[in-house]
């Protein structure tokens, strides 16, 4: 699941914290009137994965079933034949593109999740794969905790689960740059390790960075949230933070520190972030789309009213966005296009082959590969 969707923002501040981004451009994006967009020219194929009495079944194309949908909330994978789905009930499904080949039901003995009562219980919300393992992340909280402890399971290539979380990293979200999975923690304690890679690399988030000189009390960052992250490696990545005054900042990592690149208007809810192969960042903020081209951040003129809330892509000329309800949008390098799914997606994943997968509790769909699209 795209982190920005599930995240619960809590104002935990109460600290004397100000924010200064020296000489940074502030990105204001007017809600331009929606213009009719050309239709998506990629074929979208519905996929049926249902929950049966005995398990989960990936139905053949066109097949019908009265069984309920699998309630998939997160998708990731390595290729079109190595797909991983996470269901709302904490079941991990391995799919070869045609059928479910493995399932893991609450593999680390995870407990129940009480959605109705302050999010108490074990809430697994995201699956992420990299070359070494499949990672499932979540959070466990009791009724009194503002932020609980990490729930983490990692399925290695040997088929064994490692269920050791890290108390210092209560994940807000995780991303995979392919080789490595990165988890970012809430800024809730004084642990300098805020962003941890699956290979052990650890670094700090913005405002708690691995500086040569570490911060003083004035910078106590209880109120600062890293709300979006996309890592390109140990020496490059993007993150967006929001401070207690709801001011957003886009930062870039260089292997040492996070340098602020741009401010984002106050009270703009940041939903998601993704970086393309040109190391340019795509940001979904306040329902609109911002683009960092390596020098400046500018609004893409994509109306906030369409309610963009998540972004992934196969390349700089094939960027997909989840919009309001079941709407999806694509940037094809020159313009935005729009399409519609039969369900409201909660997550999307762009496969290396160019297919883009959409999942939600009520359905699954995949685009045709990029080569077949145009």
């Amino acid at each position: 699941m795209i982190a920005g969707i599930h995240r619960q923002f809590r104002n935990l501040s109460g600290c004397l914290v100000g924010i200064v981004v020296a000489a940074l451009p502030s990105i204001a994006f007017a809600d331009t009137p929606p213009e009719p967009l050309p239709k998506l020219n990629r074929k979208i194929v519905p996929i049926s994965i249902v929950k049966t009495k005995t398990g989960f079944v990936h139905l053949a194309e066109g097949a019908k079933s009265n069984d309920p949908p699998a309630k998939i909330i997160s998708v990731h994978g390595r290729s079109a034949t190595d797909l991983w789905f996470l269901t709302e009930d904490a079941v991990l499904l391995h799919d070869d593109g045609k059928r479910i080949v493995d399932r893991y039901v609450k593999p680390c003995g995870w407990g129940e999740f009480n959605r109705e009562f302050n999010g108490v219980g074990t809430h697994v919300f995201q699956v992420v794969t990299d070359k070494d393992a499949v990672h499932v992340i979540g959070e466990e909280r009791n009724a009194n905790s503002r932020v609980g402890s990490e729930v983490y399971g990692s399925l290695g290539k040997d088929g064994k689960w490692s269920c050791k979380g890290n108390s210092a990293i209560v994940p807000a979200l995780a991303v995979s740059g392919g080789d490595t999975t990165w988890r970012v923690g809430h800024n809730m304690d004084n642990d300098a390790c805020r962003i941890r890679a699956s290979n052990g690399f650890c670094t700090s988030g913005p405002r708690w960075a691995p500086s040569f000189v570490e911060p003083v009390g004035d910078t106590v960052d209880m109120g600062i949230h890293t709300v979006a992250l996309w890592m390109l490696g140990v020496d490059d990545g993007f993150a967006i933070t929001m401070d207690e005054a709801w001011r957003g900042s886009l930062h870039r990592f260089n292997g040492v520190t996070w340098a602020p690149i741009a401010k984002i208007d106050s009270n703009t809810r940041i939903s998601d972030l993704w970086a393309d192969e040109e190391r340019h960042a795509w940001i979904v903020a306040g329902g609109a789309v911002l683009h960092y081209d390596g020098r400046t951040v500018k609004s893409m003129g994509f109306a906030a009213s369409v309610g963009a809330r998540a972004v992934r892509g196969t390349g700089a000329r094939d960027v997909f966005f989840l919009g309001d309800g079941n709407m999806i949008f694509q940037w094809d390098g020159a313009r935005f296009r729009e399409g519609q799914l039969a369900f409201e997606p909660s997550d999307l994943w762009a496969a290396p082959g160019g297919e883009v997968w959409f999942v939600g509790p009520d359905g699954v769909a995949v685009t045709a590969p990029l080569s077949e699209g145009h």
């Binding site: 004397l16 914290v17 100000g18 924010i19 200064v20 981004v21 020296a22 000489a23 210092a168 004084n190 642990d191 300098a192 390790c193 052990g200 690399f201 650890c202 670094t203 700090s204 913005p206 405002r207 960075a209 691995p210 500086s211 040569f212 000189v213 570490e214 911060p215 003083v216 009390g217 004035d218 910078t219 106590v220 960052d221 140990v234 020496d235 490059d236 207690e244 005054a245 900042s249 930062h251 260089n254 292997g255 040492v256 520190t257 996070w258 340098a259 602020p260 190391r279």
Partner: protein
């Protein structure tokens, strides 16, 4: 509080205190020598007090300034309209691009219409009527006070104990850091006296910066910020009266000086037992017991006797089954938690323990039900005693430490007190068993004072045990928080500890005198003789004349075995401390190369791209591991051996280019220079236990010999090690900082602010000695010069912004003189080119070139953060940093280097080995050498 001459004061130390290092200090550093109270140097005031002319937040034209919520700016209301000054406008380039917050803390409007603004990073900035920044000058600590003096100067105070006088043009007239406490704003006294108060007392300076007197007093820790007119620090300049909560004295009264926080080096410690213990007991002339706890709370008694160690297991569960879970009524043997060990009344060691039951529904684990329990060590086995079971059942405990059973830890325990505030009691051992002793309040400590047993209750009252009764003992008046503990050798020599303050009360022959201590008292006292007492946790020692902080003292419970023989048992083991002849190295008081606020450095013009060099991207094959393709830090030994840190490994590269893994357990986030190779397979490095939490206590030093590491014989105490460097001729410096780490830690007290920040060794096999005299700063890097001196760089504060510092200590071990240079921003790296020449680089493109006592400052036009510098001579200096910055100085100009790692690379380490430059970065490693032909 009014202090008059008393005989005991003859033993008190005057404060001979440290200066920040800016202008020459009129106050000499050195041993504390005064033996009588200082007589005031100020005559009885006759003139009228200086009147505050107007609200410091109001300008001469009626303008108003106020701090915006959270300190994120300044709102200025002027006739022309309202404007907001953002912190961006208030600062020169900030110190660390990743750390953003700067908060406004103080405002002062000058008569000329300029507004002076204090910031949380120690910066003081003046802006003109158009809100244009005029100047900025930095100090250690967050600015706490800005006050205009009668002469129109600006008196600055900070929460790190700095007091300074600045001219309206930004020149620093003088700057002092006498103590490291959070100070009040300056109050103006008669004859231009400037007075400030902190938790340890009051300081008075002349307008020229001379310390006129210090007056020790136990003031609230938040005196800095008390604005209640009844209790706030105030000075009546017409009468010379100085007042605060529980304080009232005249400036011409005698003063008990505040003791210097500079530590004493009078003891050294050797480790005699490696594992952590939490209770220690001397049971005989050559016998010592401790309670050790292994993983999963497995307790054991450790007996040290005749140099041998015996480990004796303790039952992990009580002997009998009880109802552990009230819901299920299931009977189990409850878990035993051990709280301490004392000399039992029957001659055997007794253990104070609690039987722990399951928490009831809704109870947290720290408040689960428990019952007190006594155990006895007999021979080599521990058994339960059931003497007080009925009393323990009637007065249950919990798992909270506040309900632990207490008994005397010195001498023989005969009184055991238990329970908590709503149900408590004491049992007195008599031959036939225990006899109840009633106490109105819960007893929190039991102490043997000579042949008497004395207790302190949670009402902070003291009682003496008389038969089976507790008889009140009068506590000293003036104790800020009441009495917390009592100790002594007998009725003629008693100590009363007053809460968490820097003042204890010594009663000698019935006469009580307040004695100031160099840092805040923690816990109680252990007293062997009238001239030999220790704080319970071993940090401070009383030698009969004064209390001093002992440098090198491990933290733990103390027992005394003989004259000046102290044993300390704590988390890092058991240590034996004996008198030491260790003499610290002292860097002389520094002269300042700058008058104050710096002029804008001119932008640097870069020459043509460097030519005539070959650049090669490098990958090192390491046996048994992935190739090394990226780096964080690099250092070179005199024989050309390279040590290179990747994010998870430290590897050695020998002259043939063969790479060997040295360590793979130092996965650090920070970019400290924590290793120094001396030769192939040999060097010094620091080991960090954890990256977080135990800031300033997390590093130990290791020696590497023949590829094997062993603990070094010294620690850089209460500091995080940030850099190690040597001059290739045996002189090696190790530099630390106290400000790194947790944002919370910088807010707590600063007991080691004025302690040694470095160690130095004169020769390869020599002993490291602590170094005094380095200014308090958040140091980042050091470079040792050929003469054995060193250049130190860093920031005045632990980020995020503020002024940088370059400090030069000249001559062998830095003893021949010192100079301080201001820098516009944090400095991250320094390279010594010659005895009096160095290059330093830092944030926002800052470059300093120091030569012959002069300094030239540059700013790189790109403003990139510069993180490393190295040079082989005055015409061969390399600088690396963010944004792909790698430049070379050839003696005439700086030339950019085409290195091939791209414009995003951040060079974090540079080293020259055998004529080849190694430039390391998280994005790759390049080697650069002059092209042949």
């Amino acid at each position: 509080m009014k202090i008059r001459n008393r005989p005991i004061l003859a033993g008190l130390a005057a404060s001979s205190l440290l200066a920040c290092g800016a202008p020459p200090s009129p106050v000499k550093s050195g041993p504390v020598v005064s033996v009588k109270p200082q007589e005031s140097a100020v005559a009885t005031p006759t003139q009228k007090p200086p009147a505050l002319r107007r609200d410091p937040h109001a300008g001469p034209l009626g303008e108003k300034a106020s701090i915006v919520k959270w300190g994120i700016g300044v709102e200025v209301k002027a006739p022309a309209g309202v404007s907001i000054l953002e912190p961006d406008d208030l600062h020169p380039p900030p110190g660390d691009r990743s750390l953003l917050a700067i908060v406004v803390t103080e405002l002062l409007w000058l008569d000329d219409g300029n507004l002076v603004i204090g910031l949380g990073d120690g910066s003081v900035t003046a802006v003109d009527r158009d809100q244009k920044r005029l100047w900025t000058v930095g100090f250690r600590g967050a600015v706490r006070g800005l006050v205009s003096t009668e002469q129109g100067q600006i008196a600055v105070t900070t929460d790190a104990g700095v007091v300074a006088l600045v001219s309206p043009e930004g020149k620093v007239r003088w700057e002092r850091q006498i103590m490291a406490d959070d100070l009040t704003p300056v109050r103006l006294g008669p004859k231009g006296l400037l007075l400030v108060a902190g938790p340890r007392g009051v300081l008075a300076f002349s307008p020229e910066g001379e310390l006129v007197f210090s007056h020790a007093a136990s003031l609230p820790s938040d005196i800095c910020c008390d604005k209640d007119p009844k209790t706030a620090f105030s000075v009546d300049a017409s009468t010379g009266r100085v007042k605060a909560k529980d304080l009232d004295f005249g400036i011409d009264d005698p003063h008990i000086p505040i003791p210097s926080p500079e530590p004493s080096f009078s003891f050294s410690y050797e480790k005699v037992f490696p594992d952590g213990v939490f209770s220690l007991l001397a049971s005989g002339p050559d016998e010592l017991y401790g309670i050790a706890v292994a993983g999963d709370k497995k307790y054991e008694v450790v007996r040290l006797k005749d140099g041998k160690v015996k480990r004796i297991p303790i039952p992990q569960r009580s002997a009998r089954a009880e109802v552990v879970d009230e819901e299920t009524k299931k009977r189990e043997r409850p878990r035993l938690d051990i709280d301490g060990i004392v000399n039992g009344p029957n001659g055997n060691p007794w253990l104070l323990a609690r039987r722990v039951f399951d928490p009831e529904p809704g109870q947290m684990y720290w408040g689960a039900p428990a019952a007190s329990q006594l155990l006895e060590l007999k021979g080599d086995s521990v058994r339960e005693r059931n003497d007080l079971q009925k009393e323990f059942e009637d007065n249950p405990a919990t798992t909270s430490s506040g309900t632990m059973m207490v008994a005397a830890r010195e001498g023989t325990a005969n009184l055991f007190c238990y329970g908590y505030d709503s149900g408590h009691g004491c049992g007195l051992w008599e031959k036939s068993g225990f006899r109840p002793v009633e106490s109105k309040n819960k007893v929190i400590s039991v102490n043997r004072v000579g042949d008497k047993t004395m207790v302190v209750t949670d009402a902070r009252q003291v009682f003496r045990l008389d038969g089976a009764s507790l008889v009140p003992v009068e506590s000293p008046k003036g104790a800020l928080y009441g009495t917390f503990a009592v100790a002594g050798t007998g009725d003629a020599d008693r100590w009363f500890v007053s809460g968490p303050s820097a003042m204890v009360f010594h009663e000698v022959q019935g006469k009580t005198t307040p004695i100031p201590t160099p840092s805040t008292f923690e816990g109680g006292l252990v007293v062997r003789a009238p001239n030999d007492a220790w704080t319970e946790y071993g940090a401070m020692h009383w030698d009969g004349n004064r209390w001093s902080t002992i440098w090198g003292a491990p933290s733990g419970k103390v027992v005394l075995r003989g004259a000046n023989e102290v044993w300390v048992g704590g988390a890092k083991g058991i240590f034996r401390g004996i008198p030491s002849s260790l003499t610290p190295v002292r860097v002389p008081a520094a002269k300042s190369a700058d008058e104050g606020a710096l002029a804008e450095a001119p932008p640097l013009t870069l020459g043509a791209t460097l030519a005539g060099y070959a650049v090669a991207r490098t990958s090192l094959v390491v046996k048994g591991g992935e190739p090394v393709t990226k780096g964080k830090r690099i250092a070179v030994a005199r024989d050309g051996t390279i040590w290179l840190e990747t994010w998870d490994r430290l590897v050695e590269v020998d002259a043939e280019g063969k790479a060997t893994l040295l360590r793979d357990d130092e996965k650090r986030i920070s970019f400290d220079r924590w290793f120094f190779p001396e030769a192939r397979g040999r060097g010094i490095l620091s080991h960090r236990e954890r990256e977080s939490e135990a800031f300033n206590e997390r590093d130990t030093l290791l020696k590497l010999e023949d590829g094997k590491t062993a603990p070094a014989d010294v620690l850089l105490l209460h500091q995080d090690v940030v850099a190690i460097d040597g001059n290739g001729s045996g002189v090696t410096w190790i530099l630390g900082t106290t400000g790194a780490g947790s944002p919370w830690s910088a807010k707590s007290s600063r007991p080691f602010e004025l302690a040694p920040h470095a160690l130095v060794r004169a020769e390869d096999k020599g002993k490291f000695l602590p170094v005094l005299g380095l200014p308090s700063a958040n140091f980042v890097d050091l470079a040792v010069s050929p003469d054995g001196g060193a250049f130190f760089v860093g920031a005045l504060n632990a980020g995020p912004t503020g002024e940088g510092i370059l400090f030069h200590a000249r001559g062998r071990l830095g003893a021949e003189g010192a100079t301080r240079y201001r820098a516009p921003a944090t400095l991250f790296g320094v390279a010594a080119i010659a005895n009096d020449e160095a290059w330093a680089v830092g944030a926002a493109g800052a470059i300093l070139h120091v030569k012959g006592g002069g300094v030239t400052r540059y700013t790189l036009p790109s403003g990139e953060w510069l993180r490393a510098v190295v040079g082989s001579g005055p015409n061969d200096v390399w600088i690396g940093g963010d944004g792909g910055t790698l430049i070379h100085w050839n003696g005439r100009e700086l030339q950019p280097v085409d290195h091939g790692l791209g414009a995003h690379a951040a060079f974090t380490g540079l080293a020259i080995s055998r004529g080849t430059l190694w430039a390391v970065s998280p994005s790759g490693i390049v080697r650069i050498a002059k092209s042949r032909g």
